[in-house]
């Protein structure tokens, strides 16, 4: 059976993209390979590590377990959309200040998870932060500085 490529229109960080993709394309590969937005990372490709976390229509999701076609007509926020020009997002500033990134591989997904958390709950407790990033693995920091950065970003806003 021949499966035709499908035309999809996806809004990414406010910009609309119209692309043709094979049905097998994941949202993660679509962002990285078709749109060249390589901020979003691939870790496990199994929904376990959160390196690929993006916000789809306002909800945090793992882009590695979603077909690009499922995002047709929907809106995606990635780490590239966090800063406003040269102006860093408060979480990006507090992450940098707290040393919440070491190798940095988890950071894009972690930032999106933390943004999504603060969107839902602007002043979370430590425990709520831990819960909110439970699906994001960091092999370097031990999470302490990440939690600190989120608490500080919450205080600022």
């Amino acid at each position: 059976m021949t499966a035709e490529p499908i035309r999809i229109t996806v809004t990414v960080n406010g910009e609309s993209f119209r692309e043709e993709v094979p049905a097998t394309r994941s949202l993660l590969d679509f962002l990285r390979d078709d749109l060249g937005l390589t901020g979003t990372k691939e870790g496990c490709s199994e929904g376990e590590c959160g390196a690929c976390a993006v916000i789809l229509d306002g909800r945090l999701v793992d882009a590695c377990l979603i077909f690009a076609a499922e995002a047709d007509g929907r809106s995606v926020e990635t780490v590239e959309g966090l800063a406003d020009g040269e102006e860093l997002h408060p979480l990006q500033r507090t992450f940098a200040a707290a040393g919440a990134a070491q190798c940095g591989y988890c950071t894009p997904g972690m930032l999106m998870a933390c943004k999504s958390l603060l969107d839902r709950n602007p002043s979370p407790t430590r425990e709520e932060v831990t819960h909110g990033i439970a699906g994001n693995l960091c092999r370097c920091t031990g999470y302490g500085t990440i939690i600190q950065a989120v608490m500080e970003a919450a205080k600022e806003s």
Partner: protein
Amino acid sequence: MRRFHYLAPRRLDEALSLLTPDAVPLAGGTDLFLRMERRQTQPDAVVDLKRIPDMDRIEPSDGGLRIGALAPMESLAASSLIVNGYRALAESARVVGSIQTRNRATIGGNLANASPAADTATPLLALGATAEAGRVDGSRELPLEQLFLGPGRTALESGELLTAVRIPAMPGRTGSSFQRCVRTAMDIAVVNCAAFVKLDEDGAVEDARIALGAVGPTPLRALSAESCLQGRRFDADAAAEAAECAAHDARPIDDVRASADYRKDMVRVLTRRAVENAFQRARGEA
């Protein structure tokens, strides 16, 4: 992954007519995507159900609750109808994977996937749920027990979709609780357990249902544990005896997650906790 046709119908009847034997329904994809990636499922067509309006609704119905098959875990955990009336179900939805998983993973997918460890299956069994199956020429309802045939196998026929889950009304003096034991936060359950009790005016058990997960080919009812509670008032002995019966009802196997013996031990622990907790709630104490 093998190539396939992606279809995104906007109506239920259209989706049902697209469900040929070589097509599979797609809900949140948190099970299906990986199975396709690993070529354990190689459909010609994937029928995405998420564009069908209202299939994710959670609404009161016949005094009880009707939960659309497409309702994601995060919505179940946040629904005041579920949190207030069906606590065991809310508790199970809250622990499925991460927030990323829960935003996608649906109740219908959790049941249709028919994993013996499916976390919403045990509370739904304990709460007396039925499954609503739709097909082109109508729909039928079946007790949830009859939906599960074996690992990955359900009673849904080709061309049938799970459209909703129905849970009966919860009158006063009822309580439910969900308990599970996992290796790591993102892993599926080593064992899970849900208990439901309904007490009479004197505080004795009028009705009890206990369900166990990951200790048999399907999620199962612990029938001897249930009858051991019948007519009894709560005390530590009652909970311990029910737990012992549940361990006999369980039919676990050894696998990478745990040994059969360990699973039986966990059945004892979780059943005791779930029963105690359900009792407390039925008496308005927790």
